[in-house]
């Protein structure tokens, strides 16, 4: 009955959040905090849309969104890694920059629309596009990468204690660069998902705060891929579920309260999780936000 379409709507709502949050997770596990997700997503959205509108190719559009995300995060990396600028301030500045840049790039693309990303039916409930599947596959892949591969281990080591990793011969900055660029690529994908699949159009500021939610989800998910994915679906579920309840006429609460529920729920869950015995296990990467310099 109604559950299947509801689930489909939740999936589309959760996908951009999941993509960006999983990317940021990798960045943060390497010890770098990039608050520029919102601006990066916007640039990914506009570049992805522009390339799709000009070439007609979804593949090129998605790749371009991804590449734009990488370019934005490369700017962030250039400032924060070799130049060791403050990460919080640089990330915020990146969002300011990205918001302006996307608006400028998109001037000639407002009012246009493109064919939405094609859907690939899979057995079961799924009848979604490739990026939804990509976001679902990313969680187990990242979990396996972080837990079971040597590179994943080194990445976590860099995030926990960069000095020690350096002493053991790890090229800390190179690894962090890779992690930041991966995060940018995923944020760009998340943005491209908005402008190519979610609502196939470009409009200024169309991310509407999703980059910030993605940042919150990495903390909410305690830097674990499965939890972050679950958080994205929970967040999307509460939001879309609230809309369904309203539409059914069964619910009489002020819309502002309804809109506040996902945020309040995040706070409550976080307090509950942090206070439990699991607190230590769920702690942030120890070196998060701390710049690293290999000095002679």
């Amino acid at each position: 009955m109604m559950l299947v379409p509801l689930l489909a709507t939740v999936m589309t709502a959760a996908t951009p959040l999941a993509l960006a949050a999983l990317g940021e997770l990798v960045t943060e596990r390497a010890g770098v905090l990039n608050l520029g997700v919102e601006g990066t997503m916007l640039v990914g959205a506009v570049v992805g849309f522009a390339v799709m509108a000009s070439t007609g190719s979804h593949t090129l559009g998605v790749l371009a969104g991804c590449a734009a995300g990488i370019a934005m995060s490369a700017l962030f990396a250039a400032l924060t890694l070799p130049l060791a600028a403050n990460q919080v301030a640089t990330g915020l500045a990146l969002t300011v920059f990205g918001t302006g840049l996307s608006a400028l790039l998109g001037q000639h693309y407002t009012g246009r629309t493109v064919a939405p990303l094609p859907r690939l039916p899979l057995p079961g409930l799924l009848h979604q596009d490739v990026l939804v599947y990509a976001s679902l596959a990313a969680a187990p892949l990242l979990a396996a990468f972080l837990q079971r591969t040597r590179a994943g281990l080194v990445l976590r080591a860099v995030g926990e204690n960069a000095e020690a990793a350096h002493q053991l011969g790890t090229r800390v900055l190179r690894l962090r660069l890779a992690a930041v660029l991966f995060g940018g690529a995923m944020s760009g994908l998340g943005g491209a998902y908005l402008s190519l699949a979610y609502t196939p159009l470009w409009a200024e500021g169309m991310t509407a705060g999703r980059g910030w939610i993605a940042l919150a989800l990495t903390v909410f998910g305690a830097w674990r891929p499965w939890r972050v994915l679950g958080g994205a679906y929970l967040f999307g579920g509460i939001e879309v579920g609230g809309l369904y309840l309203q539409g059914s006429g069964a619910l009489h609460v002020p819309p502002q309260l309804l809109a506040a529920i996902p945020y309040l729920a995040t706070v409550v869950v976080l307090a509950w999780v942090s206070a439990g015995g699991a607190a230590r296990r769920l702690a942030a990467p120890a070196a998060l936000g701390k710049p690293f310099r290999a000095l002679g």
Binding site: M2, P5, L6, A8, T9, T12, A13, P16, A103, G106, Q107, T110, G111, R112, T113, P116, L194, Y198, T199, P200, L201, A203, E204, G205, M206, A208, R210, E239, V240, L243, Y244, Q246, G247, S248, G249, P255, Q256, L258, A259
Partner: protein, 353 residues
Amino acid sequence: MHSRRALLATAASIAALPRAARAADPLKVAFVYTGPIGDLGYSYQWDQARLALDQALGPRIATRYVENVPEGPDCERVLRDLAGAGTGLIFSTSFGFMNSALKAARQFPGTKFEQGTGYKTVSNVAEVNIRWYEARAVCGTIAAMTSKSGICGYVAPYPIPEVIMGVNAFTIAARRVNPAFKVRLIWVNTWFDPGREADAAKSLIDQGADILATHTDSPAVMQTAQARGIHAFGQSSDQARFGPAAQLTAIVDHWDPYVIARTKAVLDGGWTTGSLWAGFRDGLLVLAPYGPAVTPPVRAAAEAVRTGIVSGAQHPFAGPVRDQAGTVRIAAGETAPDADLLRMSWFAEGVAS
């Protein structure tokens, strides 16, 4: 005070408009928008009027716009900057700008302000508003005749009188055609968030709506209707390119005649303050061409409503009208006065919310 203004004006014209010196002082006309002109909705339509003004009055005027202006101190600063730069006429296009416009107007008595929706006027601040509810009555008529399920989904931003008035006009008109017609309402709590608007549209469709109406700014609702093979009404501007099969019609803001007339009045020295609430008859409100799904009988019925409103033969808020609880809000034989419409806070029978 006067000398500082002169100073500001000089500085700005030297900096900004070298061509101002060569023409015989064209009238500077400025537009202040709450959104980006790329919103394809409310601010976009105001900018269309600005472009029409450029076309109509050409060298006698010089237009300028400032977009994405937040309400509050920033808006007042922009208005003061514009007035200080010698702007003769400023269109301040959001109700949230009203108090800022009044404050700026007090300081710059030589500048005329046109407040796009609001309710206070002074000697140099006039006010203009559109009777969008007239168009919503036409849409309600089309919806009730086109819908198979008898359910319309309505994506609404905030519970303010303007929005409630629209929902009610739509519902009342629809129920004149089909007394069992239902309108399901979702408050999305934003004027602009394409993703959330699309989510709301999807959930309404999943709950049986086969017609969508919206009061939010992005074309996402139209796009969703097109993708799901149902129908929708465009908001603020013609959205046929986002839903060529889906769009039944669109409620289009057409500020052009007002903007041109008022600017001419300033040029001719005949501008006075005033308050205008204009509808179909004045040409500020138009409907986009009917879409392919509007059959000839539906079109005839829609046109009958529209011409009836223009001639005054019918009124979207003519009684009897009951609210959700069944209480008579407008008695038979009466129509709601404008003052009641502008304060509307109850929902008509048939609105499920």
